[in-house]
Symmetry: C2
Subunit: 340 residues, 2 copies
């Protein structure tokens, strides 16, 4: 054992993880990748990618998956959180109108389990591949005394491109409609609250709200990427704005794409809320305000369209629901109101 190993860091474990994940990572490469794994920095030739753009704008988002990693660790399933992370970033880029180009991941733990780290990165790589994104690089770090034993963190940065004239959001107005694409569950937010609430039942319980599914399964439901649906929608209608409902819920995220004088009404009951939300509301006796400020409540991605485009939009995407509308807001009271 070297002195460094005695200090809790094993360089060889890092190397082993890298070997285990190499094939999945390299499967995301395109001919544009000039330097990938092993290089000090990944290199991607912009030539071909830029050919499609007149005025290219780079778009970037950094995210983590929160304490969903703890649920993954408890259930011993490490691949799906990798997918969650990528899809979360895909959706954030989408809100600006951008498509993914490449991704960089960061996995850290108190002690690096080579197989588990490789499983996480395999999930990242598979998700990248499914959306045509190169996994260009990343970092695995072993940090004893920073992380708790058995816990890990997972974060990443996605970089994409958008034509300058196509950047979202565009101008929106009172009377524009709020449509919603469904979430699969919590996606990547609210896990600290959810884990505390389900603790007395355990992850293998099947409460009535979940129709026979185990709590652990419902909590690990994979973050849904909206790239393909939104691209179809953009071809069909004049899409004005998108809002990805993440930490802070609809209250905090919808206003991020609205001008100062606008708010929104959201009419509960116009979309189906996955059972996990009903369960959490019951266990925590959550008020509407608390629920919609912490959880997405089934609203994965909000889509703003002009009223005259609603029928075409709803016809284009069967999963889409009309859930509310934009209204004038004078700065007093709640900017987003959820009507029961």
């Amino acid at each position: 054992m070297t002195a460094y190993q005695a200090a809790g860091v094993d360089i060889e474990a890092g190397k082993q993880a890298t070997e285990l994940m190499a094939r999945a990572v390299q499967a995301t490469y395109t001919p544009a990748v000039l330097a990938g794994m092993g290089a000090f920095a990944g290199c991607i030739d912009l030539g071909q990618a830029l050919a499609a753009y007149r005025e290219p704008v780079l778009v970037a988002s950094t995210d983590g998956v929160g304490t969903k990693t703890l649920v993954a660790a408890r259930l011993g399933r490490f691949t799906s959180v990798g997918q969650d992370l990528v899809y979360h970033c895909v959706n954030d880029l989408l809100v600006q109108g951008a498509r993914p180009l490449f991704f960089m991941d960061y996995v850290a733990a108190a002690r690096l389990d080579a197989q588990q780290a490789a499983d996480v990165v395999r999930g990242v790589a598979e998700a990248c591949r499914s959306v045509g994104c190169v996994l260009l690089g990343g970092e695995t770090a072993e940090m004893p005394q920073v992380y708790q034993e058995g816990a890990f963190d997972l974060a990443g940065t996605m970089v994409g491109l958008v034509e300058k004239a196509d950047i979202l959001p565009r101008s929106v107005a009172a009377g524009d409609l709020v449509l919603a694409l469904p979430s699969t569950g919590l996606h990547t937010n609210g896990y600290s609250l959810a884990r505390r609430l389900v603790e007395p039942l355990g992850y293998t319980a099947c409460p009535p709200e979940l129709d026979g599914q185990m709590i652990g399964e419902a909590l690990l439901a994979i973050h849904r990427p909206y790239l393909l649906e939104v691209e179809r929608l953009r071809e069909a209608v004049d899409l004005r704005a998108l809002a990805h409902i993440t930490g802070g819920g609809v209250y905090d995220n919808l206003p991020r794409v609205l001008p100062a004088a606008l708010g929104a009404l959201i009419r509960r009951g116009t979309w189906k809320e996955p059972g996990i939300f009903g369960l959490l509301c019951r266990l925590g006796a959550l008020s509407t305000r608390e629920a919609f400020h912490t959880l997405n409540m089934g609203l994965g991605m909000l889509v703003i369209v002009r009223p005259e485009d609603a029928v075409e939009a709803l016809d284009t995407l069967p999963a889409l629901r009309q859930v509310g509308e934009l209204v004038e807001w004078d700065g007093a009271g709640e900017r987003v109101r959820v009507l029961e």
Copy 2:
């Protein structure tokens, strides 16, 4: 207190941190920034940046600062690790010949202290500004049960540009010389070992190797960015390759830019090793192999040049030292040999 706060997550603390860091972040913006803080994803207009390139290649690197965060937390100094992170990434991009364009940071802790998170990001922003890099976005995460109380992690991704024809490394050959730019100390690697070794002395001790400096100060010495020096060098001589000496030391990092049939001799005593390395070698009775496999030992950035360019290179940068040469390597024995 909301249910979410009871679960250990305070959305308001995150908002407060964001407000505290806003001015420093926005000071890094250029007119090319189309969307920054508050947006779902940062947007940067490529138009002006690309005007300088015939065949632009995007270069990206993700890094952390390891358990240097624990030293920072113990000393209550949170700004310099932000600088460390940026400079680490600057140097990694430099190895590929690239200049920084923008940066994305990630700060996570068990409990988010708004002031501390803002101090970290202020360090990130100041360092970005000093190298002409936009701090385009980031994420702060509060993850109870993942992080240990009082500890935090800091990681980031830098994206830059390089002209395709200028990508490093270029071809190198046996007989090429290895020059070195000095490190200020451990930079961002080896902290788990270093912290364990200095524990019995404490961070306020002033052992003889440090010439009156306290251990804590020596450990927090800021990672040195080599951007300006390397740019001057590239103008003066035909620079063949660079190797940033990070985790794994000279043994692991120099081979990353060498073809398979080449190794290197490094002649100890040809450069000045900062006192912190002598201290750690004494406290841990580290072998040469262990020391140079874990620590940079004063070799911050290695620079490979043709023998005929050595004089010009050394004249251009007074801090540069000739520390070794490339040699043929037949696959047997150590690929990098450190001669005492």
